[in-house]
Each structure stands twice: as C-alpha cells, then as structure tokens.
C-alpha cells in the first residue's frame, strides 16, 4: 500500500481497525478528538464492530472492560485528565488479566493544564496508574508511522499477555501529519480471545473477579501477575539506539522528545561532538539492561524530557550509581527546539571536558 498523509490520531484509528479492533469506546477531549472521530466514521460502519461515545471516561473504560470480558479486541483513548479518570478501570483490567488498548495523547498538566504536547504522564503510565500493585505495558512512539506500527503491536501484546497496554503519545504526535504506510489488512474474521465469557454453553460457568476475602489467595494472584511481568520484561523490552558506538555522551529521551533530541544530535555531530541517543520504545518495561550496557563505554548521560524529570528516575535506577546523569526538561507543554537542545548538549559536553 502506498504512503498516505495522515495525522497521528487517525493513523492509530486505521491501525487499530487493521489490528482487528472490534470495539471502541471513547469520550471527546483535545488533543485526541481525531481518533474518536475516525472510529465514529470508519469502525462503526464495519460488520460486527462497535463504536460508542460514552457519557464519561469512566463509562468508556468500563465498556472496554465489558467488551474484553467477552473476548473482543477493544480500545479507548483520551488525554491526560481523561486518563486519570480511566485509572479505576485500568486497575480492574489489570487485576482480571483482561487485554485492552488505551491511548493517552497526553497534554500539559496538572489539572486541566493545557492542550499542548507534554510528557508529564510518564509516572502515571509506568507505575500502573491506578490503585494496587500492577503494571501496564507502555509504548512510546515518536512518529506517525510508529504510532500505527505500535498500535498493531499493542493489540498483539495485550492479547498475548492478557494485560492492558498504554500507548503514550502527546498532542504533537496526535495532531501532526506525516506519510504513513499500513502494512497489513484488517482481518476478515474478528478475533475472539480464548477463555472469554460468552455464556456457559457446553462447559461449567466461569467467573471473572478481582475480589477475594482470602489474603493468601490475593497474594498468589499478585505473584502470578508479577511472574508474567517478569516474562514481559524479558521478552518485550524495546529500544532504539542512534550513533552511540563512539559516543562520549548519550542522550536518553522518549517519544517526541527523542525525535527532537535526534535532530539536536545531528546538529552537534556536524560540529564533531560525539553524542548518541538511547530511546526507550517500551517505557514499561524500561530498557534498564540497555542503559547498563551503554554505561560500560559511556560515562555521561543527559536525560531530556518534556517534564521535570520522571524517566530520569528510571535511568538513575538502571545506572545503579554508575556514570554521571544530567537532566534537561521543559514542563507545561512547551516544545523545545532541536537547536535549543543542541545548545544544552554542547554546553554539557564542554563543561564535562569531553572535547
């Protein structure tokens, strides 16, 4: 299929349909409205598919829960304040081991914040987000093409590990248009997950539940969740490196910030500075082994985020005290420019005597 020019939100919608998404439940919020509108236009017209504009984010995530109970591929999307509302449902999905795809086209916060792009929901996304001890897989794309590709991967991962998967984008990724290629067609028959509840025909009745009055039973449920998380960490951790082979300084950034950092690195490379990039694609599981690998050869790290230092903590934890970490962040939805980040890199490079 030839490339088409598409905004990030719509590209997620198209990719979801091609991934066999059967149900979308959502509630409008900027900057992800193109996605709910895309699903209203395209998913609702497909045979056997469902689109509902819910009365709230709470309702939407619980509709996703219902659809997941019966084994349908289901998704919802929102932006930061709406994602906060969805946390209740995400916790239940995680507890019940129900797959779901949740898109957060995040915006500036806290509170109503602004509709500009920000990365301030990193903690919320990577630490579970709701109550209880659980994790969700978190994917952080940095282009429209990657939004599409990771949407398809999100549905596969959700089903494979029976876990909610978060796609953490931002306002710019959602709104910007780029050429995108869709590599797979929508399945002719919609997938039905094994083990779903569709009535006890020819088998004993089944229960999907989270509550237990037996703490030992709950503990075992949590143990089993974390055994699976260990497996996910081993098998699904994904990252990208750029020009790190000879690097004296490595920038760690994700999503839109990583893209800006890449531009900055190209600038400073032109001036002879040996700088590389490590970009986590899965924010959870975080690629700590990759960081540990880099620090064998590189002592200096610059973490760059559009928040005041959230992924920074994961980098520091991964380094276990090794190396030297600096941070540059812009909170509140201001989008730094590549030349701004170039200046930060150059300054650091000289201050640390790397020249």
């Amino acid at each position: 299929m030839p490339k088409v020019l598409m905004d990030g939100n719509s590209a997620i919608g198209e990719a979801a349909i091609r991934a066999g998404c059967q149900c979308y439940f959502g509630y409008p919020i900027t900057p992800q409205n193109e996605l709910i509108e895309y699903m209203a236009t395209h998913l609702s017209r497909r045979k056997g598919c469902v689109f509902v504009q819910a009365e709230s984010e709470l309702a939407a995530i619980n509709m996703v829960y219902g659809a997941s109970v019966v084994g349908a591929r289901a998704m919802t999307s929102s932006s930061s304040p709406g994602i906060s509302l969805k946390q209740e449902g995400i916790s239940y999905l995680a507890a019940c081991e129900l797959p779901a795809v949740i898109v957060n086209m995040s915006r500036g916060g806290p509170g109503l914040g602004s509709i500009a792009a920000a990365q301030s929901d990193y903690f919320q996304a990577t630490r579970g987000g709701g109550h209880g001890d659980y994790r969700t897989i978190v994917l952080a794309p940095s282009s429209v093409q990657e939004l599409a590709d990771l949407t398809i991967r999100a549905f596969d991962l959700a089903d494979k590990y029976k876990i909610p998967v978060i796609i953490l984008g931002d306002g710019v990724l959602g709104q910007m248009m780029e050429p995108v290629e869709f590599k797979q067609e929508a399945p002719a028959v919609l997938p039905v997950r094994e083990g779903s509840l569709r009535g006890a025909k020819g088998r004993p009745s089944k229960i999907i539940k989270t509550f237990t009055s037996n703490p030992a039973e709950l503990e075992e449920i949590n143990w089993s969740l974390f055994r699976r998380y260990g497996l996910i960490k081993k098998q699904e951790t994904t990252f990208e490196t750029f020009m790190i082979d000879d690097a004296k300084l490595v920038v760690v950034a994700f999503g839109i910030a990583a893209r800006i950092a890449k531009g900055a690195i190209r600038n400073v490379r032109a001036e002879g500075l040996k700088v590389g990039l490590l970009r986590p694609i899965t924010l959870w599981p975080f690629p700590d082994e990759a960081v540990k690998e880099v620090v064998k050869n590189v002592n200096h790290f610059l973490v760059f985020e559009m928040n005041m230092g959230q992924m920074l903590e994961d980098v520091q934890l991964s380094l276990e005290g090794k190396g030297e970490v600096s941070f540059y962040g812009r909170p509140g939805g201001v989008i730094p420019t590549p030349s701004e980040v170039s200046r930060v890199i150059s300054r650091l490079y000289y201050q640390k005597g790397l020249k």
């Binding site: 059967q22 149900c23 439940f25 469902v50 509902v52 819910a54 009365e55 709230s56 709470l58 309702a59 939407a60 619980n62 509709m63 996703v64 829960y65 219902g66 659809a67 997941s68 109970v69 019966v70 349908a72 289901a74 209740e88 449902g89 239940y92 019940c96 509840l197 569709r198 009535g199 006890a200 025909k201 020819g202 009745s205 089944k206 229960i207 999907i208 539940k209 989270t210 509550f211």
Partner: protein, 251 residues
C-alpha cells in the same frame, strides 16, 4: 405427587452468606428460577456489584464478571454491544446504581441498551456497615446519619424508577418487593418480563426490588419485612413505571 419445590438449576448448591431476613437470597433465587424457565443458563453473563452481593458469583451458576462500584451499566453495555447474543443482567445495590453509578445507569437506559438491571433497594449501605444510601428515608438513622437523614443537609431519598421511566430508551421498569409471598410472586413476574424485553430487543429494562436489611435497620426479620410495607413502599410505591408493551406509562 405434585412437585412444588425444586432447587433451581442455575443456582449453585452453596449456602448463602446473607443475614437472616435479607432480601438478597430471595432475589438471587428468583433470578435463577427465571433464567431456568426461560432457558438462558448457557447464554447469560451476570454482573455482580461490590457490596453484600459481591459474592453473587458463588450462587449464580452462569458466567459472571465482577465490576467496579457503579459501573455495571457501562460493563453491560460493553458486553452486549460486543456480543449481542449474550443475555446480560446487572445486579446492583442502591449505592451502586443510584449514587456512584447514576451517570452510567441513566445513560445506558437512555441509549436503550438491551440489558436487564436488577436493582436492590434496601435504603442503606449494607456491606460497609449501614451508612446512608441515596435511598435512605427521611429521618432514618444510619451510621452516617446518626440523628436521622435530614433532607436539608443530606437531600431526599432518590427515586430511580420514577427518574428513569421517562427516558425513551427504557422499555420496562417495575418496582417490586420481596417481603411477602404475594410480593415475591409479583417480583418474579417482573424479572421474567424484564428479561423478555431484552430478548425482544425492546431496550433497557429494570426491576427495582425493595429488599429488607434487618441487620442494618436494627430490626428483627419480621419487623423489617413489615417496615417495607409500612414505611418504605410509601416513599417508593410499588408498581409498573414503564412498559412499552402496554403502550402507556402506569403510575
């Protein structure tokens, strides 16, 4: 010899954990009888709530999916939309349906979701220990209205059947009680009708059941059953509030 009693097939052979005189066990049994009689055991998914009936899945021998407090109507929507052949019912208490889940309930009803809700109104939060419910009567003492519910401060008992009935998506709403053999028979008829509405794809159906809670009402079972007649049904009158098959709204 004529058989006058049998254990419903879709009611598991477990001992109820409910208090003596509680309406839940009767409501459970009625639903199971209806599921049996309508032949729905293998195509039903039930949604129990948090609360005293959180363990409903230990009693109903149908597929059951627990959900968060108040979100039954949204979960039922997800299930029914994704899989329209499944018969879905939610089982919800008054705090669940009429406080924290009011929005979900109203909007599912307004969309005319083909789902059935069994709404247990016992005027109190049971499992948490007898706090005020949205349906607590004026003057009624609970652990959070120790001096009696004062409508100036706490508002009035909310009447969900009356509120929901005018919505165009609603097919059937009836308020019944399970405090006497005659009322129990009526309740079963109402539950049957509610499920039939769903099978006929007529829209949202709900049966509100006035259900005694002797423990939290601080009454004996007999006093509690009488109180439903003497006090509760004055504020929450029994009857059919909506029936699209009758083409008129009775009240």
């Amino acid at each position: 010899m004529k058989k006058v009693y049998a254990h419903p097939k879709s009611l598991k052979r477990a001992v109820f954990h409910y208090c003596p005189g509680c309406g839940h066990s009767i409501a459970h049994r009625l639903i199971c009888e209806v599921i049996d009689e309508m032949g729905l055991q293998d195509k039903t998914v039930g949604i129990p709530p948090p609360g005293c009936s959180v363990f409903a899945y230990h009693y109903f021998d149908v597929d059951m999916a627990e959900c968060a407090h108040g979100r039954g109507a949204a979960v039922a929507t997800g299930i029914k939309r994704a899989c329209p052949d499944i018969v879905v019912f939610t089982y919800q208490g008054d705090g669940d349906l009429a406080a924290i889940g009011t929005a979900e309930t109203i909007h599912a009803a307004n969309r005319g979701e083909n789902t059935t809700t069994v709404f247990i109104n016992n005027a109190v939060y049971g499992m948490t220990g007898g706090q005020m419910a949205p349906t607590t009567l004026r003057g009624m003492k609970t652990t959070t209205t120790p001096y009696g519910r004062d409508h100036v401060i706490e508002g009035h008992p909310i009447k969900m059947s009356e509120m929901l009935a005018p919505l165009e998506g609603v097919a059937y709403i009836e308020r019944v009680a399970v405090n006497s053999p005659a009322n129990i028979r009526k309740a079963k008829k109402a539950i049957t009708k509610a499920f039939q509405m769903q099978l006929d794809k007529r829209g949202f159906s709900m049966v509100e059941i006035l259900s005694p809670c002797p423990t939290n009402w601080k009454m004996t079972p007999i006093q509690a059953w009488k109180w439903v007649d003497d006090e509760m049904s004055k504020i929450f009158p029994l009857g059919v509030y909506k029936d699209v098959t009758e083409q008129k709204s009775a009240d």
